[in-house]
Symmetry: none
Subunit: 171 residues, 2 copies
DNA sequence: GTCGCGCTTGCATAAATATACAGCCATCAT
DNA sequence: ATGATGGCTGTATATTTATGCAAGCGCGAC
């Protein structure tokens, strides 16, 4: 018996943010593994997975995730057809380690910043996981499509973060 | 004085087929070289080139040509995106110089960072070209819609990058 | 010569998508 | 405690896109 979809209106903001993050992951999974012809179809498929939102929310998601619509339905940025479903399956916010293992390519420190190169479309999940874990050495993150900029208070802390992230890359 | 656009209704079928073929070529040209946000904008741009058709016809053209619509407007099949049509024709990835000439507006250094202001939608192609060329002075880039943040290892290298990009802007 | 078929296109409208407005909640500054 | 701010979302509607229907034309079969 499936879990009852919990509407977004019933949640606090903190849970809403987490819900949105999970929903985006579910969207990547759906779009990467099946044909999604329109927003209503996406809405129905998400509802089966426990995400009950309206077409308006999905329109905003699609815009924020920079998805495209073409002859094959919706697709990930730059035709990326294999989004990662790893975080989705855990039914929990993804850890930095998992995101780095899934999407990370290269880590490099520059002054008080750490630049994380990811696969296309992987920057957002990596940045979100860093935001979620709230490392004291991280002031904030900025994510593009395939690059995350991690801002640290000073160079020493940036070196710590770089070392930690590099260790995750190599595991 | 521009040639008066000849409506499709006034043509014989033989000419109609030829017109359609030419119009498809014009659409590829427009989509490959400029941002086309919606079908009405495409209709107006085609009209300036002598092709007077309605939105309904363009919708069919788009479907038949298997075009996609994404954050950067319409694009050609296989993720051929705006701003990179030049590279497609050259059969080579776009150079930073070409992208800066096409989309760059202003360059400014800040510590170990260089901020590049671009036209709307131009940040992604500029960032992608920088990623592709792998300048040793560039640790990474993060692109918004009209701004690219270029991260350098230190201030001296950022000054070098700023100088180089500024020279490209001025050519 | 007539008829049927296929193609292209416009008109009008259905369907799909984007967005203005407002509500709710958490956070922050005062 | 209060007000401002920001994020998320739904509702209703504006905007954009897709399509049913029909017109016009060329071509081939009869």
């Amino acid at each position: 018996m499936q879990a009852r979809p919990q509407t977004a209106a019933a949640l606090s903001l903190c849970l809403k943010v987490a819900m949105k993050f999970q929903r985006h992951n579910a969207i990547r999974e759906l779009i990467g593994h099946s044909l999604v012809a329109n927003q209503d179809e996406l809405r129905r498929k998400l509802r089966r997975r426990g995400f009950a939102v309206t077409q308006a929310t999905l329109s905003r998601d699609i815009h924020e995730m920079r998805l495209s619509k073409g002859p094959g339905g919706y697709s990930l940025p730059n035709g990326h057809t294999n989004g990662s479903a790893i975080a989705i399956e855990d039914d929990a916010p993804p850890s930095v380690s998992e995101m780095i293992e899934s999407f990370g390519l290269r880590v490099q420190q520059a002054m008080n910043q750490v630049v994380v190169a990811t696969v296309m479309g992987g920057a957002q999940p990596v940045a979100a996981s860093l935001d979620y874990e709230e490392w004291p050495e991280v002031v904030g993150t900025v994510a593009g499509d395939d690059t995350v900029l991690v801002i640290c208070p000073d160079q020493r802390k940036a070196a710590e973060v770089e070392s930690r992230l590099r260790t995750m890359l190599e595991s």
